[in-house]
Amino acid sequence: MSEHGSEATTAVKTLRRPGLVQKLIQLASFREFVLLLVIIAFTIIMTLVSPFFLTRLNIEAILLALSVEATIAVGMVILLISGGLDLSVGSTLAFVGVVTGLALTAGVSSLPSILVGLMAAVSVGLLNGVLVAKLKINPFITTLGTMITIRGLLLILAKGRAVLNLPKSFTVIGQGRLFGIQYPVFVLLIIVIGGDLLLRNSRFFRQSYYIGGNEKAARLSGINVDLVKIFNYCLVAVLAGAAGLMITARFGSSSLTVGTGIELRVITACIIGGASLSGGEGSVFGAFLGALFMGMLANALNLLGVDVYYQSFITGLILILAVVFDVLNERRKASRS
């Protein structure tokens, strides 16, 4: 599942065959592995507490709720790895929904409307990417600016009212089912698995690690740093757009406030999954697990009838714990070597 894991094992087997314990220690240094264990433990406990937890209906509900955040997290983690950050994903999500909705109500058919919506996402990504890569403006400030601007723009476009009564030919992408499972779940799985494979094995995508790890060195290695950065901003914007399309189709209307605050939840998921705000670290699989864990937690608290206000409280605590765990782990390793 992890290139580090499996490749390390094959390489090691032919070279020097470390013991099982050593292999486990090696594995334990990967966040994905630790997180996976936590999720499994969590699942076991929850299954004992609530028999409903591990039913198909509930799993589908978790994945459906997850589809929006995890889709964006795939783009966000790649961006974080390359040393970037995008706060405007929530606005982009709503923007794409509104643009597509307006096109649909103007009588444009579904596929062209979707393409227009995604073009709108690409233009936000291009704007962010060019400001950050070419003009060297801090990503936080750049995307804070576009986050507010785009939210304003979509309110202007929609004249402050949600776009209602979208045609069935469009809403089917959010409501249709295959093998009895809603489409967004498949979209999510395809994006996560595809994204993970690409980030692990494609030379183009791996360039992000070099850029985030040591930008100067990346340039010296012949990496087109600006191009990759701009691409990453466009990628996260398009994925935010795809998430926006799924939400809009599911509800049959383009909401103006949808996606508010989602950027912070997505970044939280990435960091719980092992990414770092200083770049160079993280994986798509880790980000997915981070989002999954947050989704399962919210679901579990619901099932247990815990007040909804506790969710944010507990998620925040877990983020802090994950980061503290990281710092302590690094210190331990540093003092050992």
């Binding site: 490749e7 390390a8 070597s337």
Partner: protein
């Protein structure tokens, strides 16, 4: 032997400095050419032009007689010139393999990385250097010296015809250096040519066939290593009368009044029972090897680090200093060796830097800053300390090393210090600015300020100081006056071979 590389009239300048001026030289195939020169002599800049990192303003580069123009490092690598940089260029979160083959990983049909092949090729390289490391180990788990070797492997992995090494042994142990040299010799026998930048003259004689000397951005000359002595090289590197560089000394040392003294300074693990006196207008040098405890002593005197015991006397009065603020209030200034990290606010303007320690003097009674008073004072000091800057509003990071250093001096002279502790006053400063700094120190001393200089460069201490104390393992082992100054004598105290304390 034929020439594999020729450089003709290469020039490059940065704001305020002519880093390389009109340099021509050539490299023979299968040769190891050492490149030596003082800090700021332009060695690294010259090599960066050959490596495609810096673009020459003028001049040409020929590879096997064919003119080439590099617009990036990958151009140069493609043409067969690889460079190992002084600063590490590794990505900590990635594995050894992915660092060595950065952006050159073997890929399959759909641009997918071939992990197995990548691992094997890495292993072959590691084996060549007898490194028993797993190619999948992440770089952050490696020691500094392994990282340094990795940097070299990375350059070699591109299959260069010419390899440029910029002080590759700075963080290697003795044994690792020997290993590296053996490998260089092996690669040389396979036909690779080397340019080897070093500060350690010993390495020139151990490794190189020919040596080239640079000074102040200019080519001084090149010699066959077998036909040259270490003394010849030093002469070529320094290339000027030392006496006029440091200015005339004030010889009235004996009549000096005591300005400042410390007694019994001890901090466990760093220095033990250190005492000295400093006269008015005296320049006192602290000589010693790196790690002898001189910087730590200065930091404790200035109140940054704690001390276990010790007394301070200033103008005959005992004083108590436990923080930098108290030291500044007493008129003691400490100029750090780490100019960029701790000495200056690099992102701020010259003006903001110069007023930093004296902001209090420029506030009215409501605690608000008074602008025009500040501007006058700063303009005044910029002139007095010959800081070359387009305006007081220029950011310090845009100035040359020498001007940054002058900024730091001007900044601290704002407090009208009675005692100045100056750690490595000319590190990373070119020769021209050095002279100016030495002359400023002289002027300062003439006005009665006591100056303590910590320097790793003995010639500098010998040139500028009235008296030198040698420090060895946290203790003063010798005191030498100006008329007995000699490198050998001071070095034998500093290295702990001789010791006045136990006579």
């Amino acid at each position: 032997m034929e020439y594999i590389l020729q450089a003709e009239n290469l020039s490059k300048s940065f704001p305020g400095v002519q880093a390389v001026g009109d340099v021509s030289f050539s490299l023979r195939a299968g040769e190891i050419l050492a490149l030596v020169g003082e800090n700021g002599a332009g060695k690294s800049t010259l090599m960066q032009m050959l490596g495609g990192v810096q673009k020459p303003e003028a001049g040409h580069i020929y590879l096997k007689g064919i003119p080439v123009i590099f617009s990036s490092a990958s151009d140069a690598i493609h043409a067969g010139i690889s460079m190992v940089f002084q600063e590490l260029s590794l990505v900590n979160g990635l594995s050894i393999s992915e660092n060595i083959f950065a952006n050159r990983q073997p890929v399959g049909r759909i641009n997918n990385i071939q992990w197995k092949e990548l691992g094997q090729r890495t292993r072959e390289l590691l084996d060549r250097f007898n490194l028993d490391l797993d190619p999948m180990t992440r770089v952050k788990r490696l020691t500094m010296s392994n990282q340094q070797i990795l940097e070299i492997l990375k350059a070699i992995s591109t299959g260069p015809k010419i390899l440029i090494l910029d002080e590759p042994t700075s963080s290697l142990t003795e044994a690792e250096t020997v290993d590296l040299f053996e490998n260089i010799q092996k690669l040389k026998r396979e036909g690779m040519s080397f340019i080897y930048i070093t500060h350690k003259l010993g390495e020139v004689f151990q490794l190189a066939d020919r040596v080239m000397v640079m000074r102040d951005g200019k080519y001084v000359g090149s010699r066959i290593v077998k036909e040259v002595t270490e003394g010849d090289l030093v002469g070529m590197m320094v290339g000027r009368e030392i006496n006029d560089m440091y200015g005339a000394t004030d010889r009235s040392a004996s009549s000096r009044q005591n300005r400042f003294s410390i007694e019994g300074f001890t901090r466990k693990g760093f220095f033990h029972d250190v005492s000295f006196e400093l006269g008015q207008g005296e320049i006192l040098g602290l000589a010693g090897l790196v790690g002898a405890g001189r910087t730590e002593l200065a930091r404790s005197i200035f109140g940054i680090d704690p001390k276990d015991s010790g007394k301070l006397t200033l103008d005959g009065e005992p004083v108590e200093i436990n923080s930098p603020k108290e030291a500044i209030d007493q008129g003691i200034a400490y100029l750090t060796e780490d100019r960029k990290g701790q000495g200056l606010f690099m992102d701020m303007t010259v003006l903001e830097n110069l007023v930093a320690p004296v902001l209090k003097e420029f506030t009215n009674r409501f605690g608000m800053l008074v602008g025009n008073k500040i501007t006058d004072n700063v303009e005044d000091r910029i002139r007095k300390f010959d800081i070359t800057t387009p305006s007081a509003g220029q950011k310090v990071l845009n100035l040359s090393g020498g001007n940054q250093q002058k900024c730091m001096i001007a900044m601290w002279m704002g407090i009208d210090p009675k005692v100045v502790l100056f750690d490595e006053p000319t590190r990373g400063v070119d020769v021209g600015a050095r002279t100016e700094i030495y002359h400023k120190l002289r002027e300062l001393a003439k006005e009665g300020t006591g100056v303590v200089i910590i320097s790793s460069e003995l010639p500098e201490l010998i040139g500028i100081c009235d008296r030198i104390l040698a420090v060895h393992q946290g203790q003063i082992t010798g005191e030498v006056f100006r008329d007995e100054f000699s490198e050998e004598l001071i070095m034998s105290y500093a290295a702990g071979i001789k010791n006045q304390l136990h006579h």
